[in-house]
Symmetry: C2
C-alpha cells in the first residue's frame, strides 16, 4: 500500500542523516510521525534496520535527540527507525492520565470504545510501518528491535510474537509483565476490556512461557529506577527465562534511574549486541 | 563568598553523575541554575573543568541532554559545567524577541535600564560561578571553555579577555563579530547603549585584533547553517587570525546545520582537543 511521506525535518549528523516524516496511516486512521537515521554508506549492501520504541509520554523525538545512538549506528552502518508512541490529534481519544491515551498506546490493537478507532499500534508497528520503510528507503530485510519502558514492553512483545522476524531484541527498563502491574492493568482494562485471553498476547512473561519466539535478548535495568519494584519487575522475566533456558541476558546497572541518561549510557552496548546478530554474513 | 547550593536533580550516567543546582547569585541579584557532570574517578588528582556556554533560547539543559558530551568527558576525566544563559523569572526584564532578554544575555554586564539590575553574566560566568564550583566540588584549577552560537561568542570572548585563565577554547558556530551583525547590534544597543567602546570588549574579532589572549582555538561551523552568512561569519575571525598568525583552527563541516545534531557530531573532537591541553603533566 503506497503512502506519501512528507519530510518535516532533516539534519546531518555523524556523517549520516536524521529525518522526520509525517504520513497518513491506514492502520491508525490518522496521520503519524516517525524519525529515521540513515547512516552514511558503509558497504555496497543495504543496511539493516534497528527499531526503537519509546516509553510513556514520549514521541519519536526523545530517543532521536537524547540517546546518542546515531554515533554508534553510523559507525556500525545501521538504520534506526523511531516511531511515535501512538495516535495524536484533537480527534483522537485521550485521558487525563499520562499513562493512558495519547502517548500511552502500549503498542496494542484496542478493541474497546473510544480507543478502537485509532489505537491500532500493533498493526502499525508490526506491518504498516515496516512496509513503508522497506518501500521508501534502501534497507535490507534484516532487523532488530529495542525499546524503553512501555517501549521495552513493545520490543519484547513484538519479538516474542514474530518468530524469525528479528535477529535480536533488547530493552531498557521494560514493563515485562504488564498483566501484573498497575500501568499494564490500567491500560489493558481500558483498551482491551476486563481481563481476558486478549491480555496475554501483550504480556512478555506470558509469551515467553507459552512458546514465544526464541532469539538473543538483552535487558538493562537501573537499580535506582523509581518504577522498578511496582511496574517493571525484570526478575519475573528472568525467572521464566531461567526455567526455560531462554537466551536472556539481564544486567542490573547500579545507581542508574529510568531516564534517557541511563539509555545514553548503555545504548552503545545494545547496538553492538544487535550488530553482532544483524551483520553476520 | 559562600553560597548555598540546592540540588535539583541527580542522574547516574557513563559511570559519573549529572547534577543540577540552584543558588542565589550575588552578581545576578536572582537565583541561577546550572548543571554539572562529574566523571567517575580517573586518577588521584582533581579533574579539570570544561565550561560549555549555550546559545539563544537555551538553558543549562540543552547541552546536558542533547550533546552526548558526558560519554567523552567520563572517558577523559573532565568535569563539565553548563551554566544557564541568563537571569530568569517574573521580576527579570524581558523582551518579546527570542534574541533579547531572558535566554539571550550575550554574556555581558548590561549598563542600560531595564537590564542592568540582573543582566550581569560577564561577572557571573567569569568570577562568581568559578568560585562557587571551586568551593563546592573537587576540581583542579585547570580549565577550558567552549560554547555554541551566542555561547560560542561567550567562550571566545571570555578566553580572549582573560590571559592565562583557560588552556584552550573552542566553539560551535559562534557569533565572532557581534558588533557587525543583527543579533549583536540589537543586543549590544539594548544592553550597552548606542555603539561605544563598551561594545568592543564583547567582540571576539576586535579582541583578537587588539591584544587578546593567545591560546589554542578550535571552531567548527556547518556550511548548511541558516545563520552562517548573516549572523556568524567565521571568515572574519579567520582573516584576523591569519593576519596575526593566531592559533585558530576553523573547520567548515559540509552539510551540517545550527542544531545540537551538529554539536553532537563533533563534541568528541572538541573534548579531545581540550584534554590535550588540559591534561598535560
Amino acid at each position: 500500500m503506497a503512502s506519501t511521506l512528507e519530510l518535516l525535518e532533516e539534519h546531518r549528523l555523524f556523517g549520516g542523516w536524521q529525518q522526520r516524516y509525517r504520513h497518513l496511516s491506514t492502520s491508525m486512521n490518522c496521520t503519524m510521525t516517525f524519525s529515521i537515521f540513515l547512516p552514511g554508506p558503509k558497504s555496497s549492501t543495504p543496511p539493516p534496520v534497528v527499531w526503537f520504541l519509546a516509553g510513556l509520554t514520549c514521541s519519536d523525538e526523545n530517543f532521536s535527540v537524547k540517546s546518542g545512538a546515531q554515533r554508534v549506528a553510523a559507525e556500525l552502518g545501521l538504520v534506526l527507525v523511531m516511531p511515535d508512541t501512538g495516535p495524536r490529534g484533537e480527534h483522537v481519544a485521550n485521558d487525563d492520565g499520562y499513562d493512558l491515551g495519547q502517548g500511552a498506546s502500549f503498542y496494542l490493537n484496542a478493541s474497546e470504545a473510544p480507543w478502537a478507532s485509532h489505537f491500532r499500534m500493533y498493526d502499525y508497528i508490526n506491518s504498516e510501518l515496516p512496509a513503508l520503510i522497506a518501500g521508501n528507503f534502501n534497507v535490507s530485510d534484516r532487523q532488530a528491535i529495542m525499546g524503553h519502558s512501555m517501549g521495552g514492553h513493545g520490543a519484547l512483545m513484538f519479538a516474542l510474537r514474530n518468530p524469525g522476524k528479528f535477529s535480536s531484541v533488547s530493552a531498557f527498563a521494560p514493563i515485562v509483565n504488564p498483566m501484573a502491574v498497575p500501568w499494564g492493568q490500567k491500560a489493558f482494562s481500558a483498551y482491551l476490556g476486563g481481563e481476558t485471553d486478549a491480555w496475554r498476547q501483550y504480556d512478555s512473561c506470558w509469551l515467553m512461557q507459552n512458546g514465544g519466539a526464541v532469539l538473543p535478548m538483552l535487558v538493562d535495568q537501573g537499580d535506582s529506577d523509581q518504577f522498578l519494584a511496582d511496574q517493571l519487575r525484570p526478575e519475573q522475566l528472568e525467572a521464566t527465562a531461567h526455567e526455560l533456558g531462554y537466551p536472556l541476558t539481564l544486567r542490573i546497572q547500579p545507581g542508574y534511574d529510568h531516564s534517557y541518561f541511563f539509555i545514553a549510557s548503555f545504548i552503545e552496548d545494545h547496538l553492538r549486541f544487535h550488530a553482532q546478530h544483524l551483520l553476520v554474513p
